[in-house]
Amino acid sequence: MSDKHSSYSPKTGIERWFDARLPLPRLVHDSFIVYPVPRNLNYVYTFGGILTVMLVSQILTGIVLAMHYAPDTGLAFDSVEKIMRDVNSGWLLRSLHANGASFFFIAAYVHICRGLYYGSYKAPRELLWLLGCTNLLLMMAIAFMGYVLPWGQMSFWGATVITNFFTAIPLAGGWFQRLLLGGFAVSNPTLNRFFALHYLLPFVLAGVVTLHVWALHVVGQNNPAGIDVKSKTDVVDFTPYATVKDAFGIIVFLFFFAYFVFYLPNYLGHPDNNTIANPLKTPAHIVPEWYFLPFYAILRAITFNVGPIDSKLGGVLAMFGSIAVLFAVPWLDRSKVRSAVYRPRYRVFFWLFVANGLFLGWLGSRPAEGTYIVLSQLATLYYFAFFLIALPVLGFIEKPRRLPNSITEAVLEKNRGAGAKRRSPGRTPKVERR
């Protein structure tokens, strides 16, 4: 993988002229055409490309929406209605943008779980992982502020509830909350600054994504076998192999996305947000957008005081901790084997973690009462135990399966296994024509 020699050779005069001054064509050639990728990448590895497409789509639709949107508490709600009714294709832009946020998160969560499953955070990819975690944090901030902009009831009360949690932080919490809000309550200055930041942060995200991709291209891609590239037979060229595979993955993903955009545009939203924000009336049931539900469940699970930390601060700490713990994953996992394919016990804990995450999401959508609270506490316990206990301890007690000597061997082993299964006894194997 560390073949740093560039195979680019400019063919025309213009290319030579550019190459001597700003070797951009060389960068593209080396990074996206002859860049070697492991030959065993499967379709979950296309989600990086899918995320890039979603980011670009969100920025493009967002810029046009911003041309029609008015960030003023007296105008915001009506300007969004205007976009839906009067602006040419405004309904489409908004549907793409609002559902785009959801699908961005779907892709991000798959991408993160892929990293957890195949151990993509382990040396030398720690920094790559940290940049990815930063991207997740940025996405969350952007999505939260974007949801406030339509100035519906859920916008207003979501913003109120979330910003109020900062008051739980001792000393500086109240000051920070007023800084976020620009006043004592969610009001016009809040909307102004959320709009400004919602427009700014996606470009910061694009910058961190660039670093993420850069770091990826320095250390090379991990792969389902989780072993390093050792020879030329382990890799294929990025183009056409990865390009075509990514393109196909993107098209399938966009198929689902388009289904929501055109046929279920409001399915992931809340009816309450079609009512204009009313600072004097809280909706009966406040829930965040679906992609925040697991973290919301963790927040509400802490209903008890722990020493000097009261339940309110404890909830906030647990919620932020649930993201912060992701940053520590490269150092929490003590196993020498990367991929869960060769880690039979870790695989069980991983899938439990995924199921637990979905369960937390469901709990987050339930009212905070009775058994839901107890279940949230148990699920929160597992969430943290997975990172803080399972990851470090498994590294010592788990006996991994034998690793193949190379990616090539892993692929051939798998193909041989699959071929044997296909040729079931009782059937005459067809003669292979090659």
Binding site: V161, F184, A185, S187, P189, P279, L280, I286, P367
Partner: protein
């Protein structure tokens, strides 16, 4: 310049919100009736309590309270949360408080829940007839702002 000062200080432009005072005519409030006014962008409930509500409020001992502090801007910071310390000074029937849940800032619904006080729809915090937190995740009693009767049927908040 107001915009600039907001960014610099991180808080609201002073004249607009911080200094705001509200005067309310409460002549229409019979016992058992409430009204809500907006003060500093937040709802403040003014309630003329019924006899039963006052009795219920008085019957509670400090030991039963999750937050034993009055949280009343008209009293010293450590005043105990007895019923009289939650009402408008000298007017035990009248409760004036910022109707914002101390947990996450939602607006509790009045005359609901186990204690017939206020019930927060967001996370189920329950307040009694004196606006004191009794059950649920909220840490504090709802805040009583600076308030006084400036005439028989007129209240000034702030």
């Amino acid at each position: 310049m107001a915009e600039l000062s907001e960014i610099e200080t991180g808080t609201a432009a002073l004249p607009a919100e911080a200094m705001a005072r509200v005067e309310v005519d409460v002549s229409s409030l019979m016992p058992g009736m409430s009204l809500v006014v907006q003060w500093r962008g937040k709802p403040v409930v003014v309630r003329n309590r019924t006899e039963k509500e006052i009795e219920d409020g008085k019957a509670v001992s400090l030991a039963e309270l999750k937050d034993p502090i009055a949280r009343n801007a008209n009293l010293p910071a450590d005043a105990p949360a007895i019923d009289a310390n939650r009402a408008v000074p000298g007017k035990e029937a009248w409760i004036v408080m910022v109707q914002v849940c101390t947990h996450s800032g939602c607006i509790p619904v009045g005359q609901q829940g186990e204690f017939k006080g206020w019930l927060c729809p967001c996370h189920g915090s329950q307040y009694d007839t004196a606006g004191r937190i009794r059950k649920g995740p909220a840490p504090e009693n709802m805040a009583v702002p600076v308030v006084q009767f400036i005439a028989d049927t007129r209240i000034r908040i702030g």
